[in-house]
Subunit: 408 residues, 2 copies
């Protein structure tokens, strides 16, 4: 990995073991590197699965297959290839994925559709099937690995391994939720992407698990942006092994469903924010909170317009209290807005209110806030109760160096 | 001005005088600089006007007033302030504009609504009325200026003055069209914006003039992007003095209307492309042509998705034939697309076809093309007849330096 992001946490967290989940890693050597790049996660019989995928209309074979597989509701294994995204590779890409599925299914004596495959890395190069076959063979019989080892193995250009966990009480049973994630949006030299994998020993019906994942993603994975570029392969999968042994949660009214959802949401939020903290070239972690919009959906579109604006992101990089750029980003969002009701806040300081700079505006506290690593921008539309929060990072020379100075 | 863009033309073109148009410039000193920053353009009685304005929902007072004024259809003067955009300044901003209008209207004995005002520069600071008043007074009586002087006076952070002209035959009468433009999208340290002003001595009914400007803008000013950020004040005005003396053009069927439209379109296109050539930090001029989409509108949204992608723009900056990023940008556009019918072209070289890298793809001609200054990217969707072309520039360290390293 390259130099660790200045926004990275001090160390990888202690994640609990999840009964029913066994991690194994191997070297497929998809690129000319000397590191593990193939992760095999074995899941106990009876594991249910939920998934959310990229909205890209040019998705990878893995995403196309994954969407179908999630409908089946059960999973026995997850294979993650790092270094090759296998995207835009036509039938050859699909053959490679199906080859891996059958190899693992033969080993586990399960259906091929219960084997989930993700690939991340360079686009347009079919996954080399010989390397995949040898790597999978090695992984199937490898010794169990730690969460940190697995989290590192799924990375490509990430600068640190990312994981998070939470727990919940379901009746009298404590269940754990643990997850790992890689990427930082569409950020890497060869189209790295975001992949998140969350595991719990809770027992959950697939339909409820899917509902939980969709709801949790809205304010977490779908509320972050690094550079506005949507990958062809973004995937988040949530697996529930059921090993904790409590009665299966079947709907939102099942006792403990709310607690489990809260834990899943907490893990999803932490993982999503870790992705932003590893944004390419990121030096500032930015929280954008939009209130007073006509609806939550409108607030979110406005918040993302601010978060994706190169001029807002470069102003923060420059520690410049250029709130006019926030006004600009609100104005271009295409959502209901009234210039004369708009208020802007940097940190705890109101800088503009009701369409005018605040009288006697003192830039000193804003300048002090902008020198910190965690920046907060607030925009109140003054129109309704709609609100949304999104997270992003600044746009720096580091981003340009990683994406332009690089030659494939 | 700072260092001239490497994409700038060698010199300012020779623009013809437009009978009925008199240019004058003055020093209002809106900023601490020693240069002319106030342009006064006097228009003959009977001049008709058309205008297109920013889609921003947080526009400046000048834009709000301008939209109303255009409905009147006639103009006697244009004032352009450089160095202060007067945007997000509430009633104080509006007072400043109306003050200028009345000062000029008194001088010309015309209606205040016939005096158009544009302002460009820092946002959130009301235009200083004393400086405006003195500047306008000086400009009203200044000696006539050249096109190049006026084009330079309307600039803010532009690195070169921009102008273009064309001519057309209307019946037996030759008419000229000349225009100037400033800005490069939402590109400057303090929210500089795009302003374009086009003048002709043709005689055109305001409704037809407006129709011509709207139609011409679609494939020109509205088909360029530097950084995806939409300014609060973008404005293009088209003035027709009628001094050429031919019968007034009243609709598209009027003899010569097509020829005049072609000239207006040619000037608009050249001005729009000059804006891209002065994009902040630009080192490459990029033409993106999308074909085979389900409609022209769909093609344009896909083309803009490619043009606005930071990863595509940084790849071009790095002279990197990373066509996977083009696939990504097509996929995220939200428009109908089928991965397995998509073809990508760099310069004259097909790199991917029908969802796969081209067999035996030779990167050498692509690499040679990417070393040039004028880059062409083609994407064929293989779905229909929709097509669109847009223009943009690359994303370089220069953009970050200008927008982040700067401190207001």
């Amino acid at each position: 990995m390259t130099i660790r992001s200045p926004l990275a946490p001090d160390r990888f967290p202690d994640l609990p073991a999840i009964p029913g989940v066994t991690l194994r890693i191997a070297r497929a050597q998809y690129k000319a590197w000397d590191r593990c790049d193939l992760t095999y996660i074995e899941l106990a019989t009876g594991t249910t699965v939920a998934g959310v995928f990229t909205q890209s209309l040019c998705p990878s074979s893995e995403v196309e297959l994954g969407r179908e597989q999630v409908k089946g509701g059960t999973a026995r294994a997850l294979i993650v290839n790092a270094g090759n995204s296998n995207a835009f590779t036509g039938f050859r890409g699909r053959d490679a994925v199906e080859g891996i599925q059958h190899q693992v299914a033969d080993h586990l004596s399960c259906a091929a559709a219960q084997v989930f495959v993700s690939s991340t890395g360079v686009i347009g190069v079919p996954l080399p099937m010989d390397k995949a076959r040898a790597g999978v063979a090695a992984a199937l019989t490898a010794a169990p690995a730690t969460w940190e080892e697995a989290a590192a193995t799924i990375t490509t250009t990430d600068t640190f391994a990312k994981g998070a966990s939470a727990s919940a009480m379901i009746g009298g049973t404590r269940v754990n939720v643990a997850g790992v994630v890689k990427g930082s949006g569409m950020i890497a030299p060869d189209m790295a992407t975001m992949r998140g994998y969350i595991f719990t020993d809770a027992a959950v019906h697939p339909a409820l698990l899917q509902a939980m994942l969709i709801q949790a993603s809205g304010g977490t994975f779908n509320a972050i942006t690094v550079d506005s570029d949507t990958s062809t392969s973004d995937t988040v999968l949530l697996f529930a092994t059921g090993a904790a042994g409590h009665p299966v949660l079947t709907d939102w009214d099942s006792p403990g469903a709310d607690a489990l959802y809260a834990a899943v949401h907490a893990v999803a939020l932490e993982l999503a924010q870790l992705v932003v903290r590893d944004g390419e070239g990121a030096a500032k972690f930015i929280t954008i909170c939009v209130t007073g919009a006509v609806s939550d959906a409108s607030a979110k579109r406005i918040a993302l317009s601010i978060a994706n604006s190169p001029l807002v992101k470069t102003a923060i990089a420059g520690e410049d209290a250029n709130w006019g750029r926030v006004v600009m980003a609100v104005g271009k969002a295409g959502e209901p807005a009234d210039r004369d009701r708009l208020s802007i806040r940097f940190g705890d300081t109101q800088v503009a209110k009701d369409g005018l700079p605040v009288d006697g505006y003192d830039e000193a506290p804003v300048a002090a806030h902008l020198k910190t690593q965690d920046i907060r921008i607030g925009a109140d539309l003054g129109l309704g109760d709609g609100r949304a929060t999104v997270w992003t990072c600044d746009l720096t020379h580091g981003y340009i160096s990683i994406n332009a100075d690089y030659r494939s």
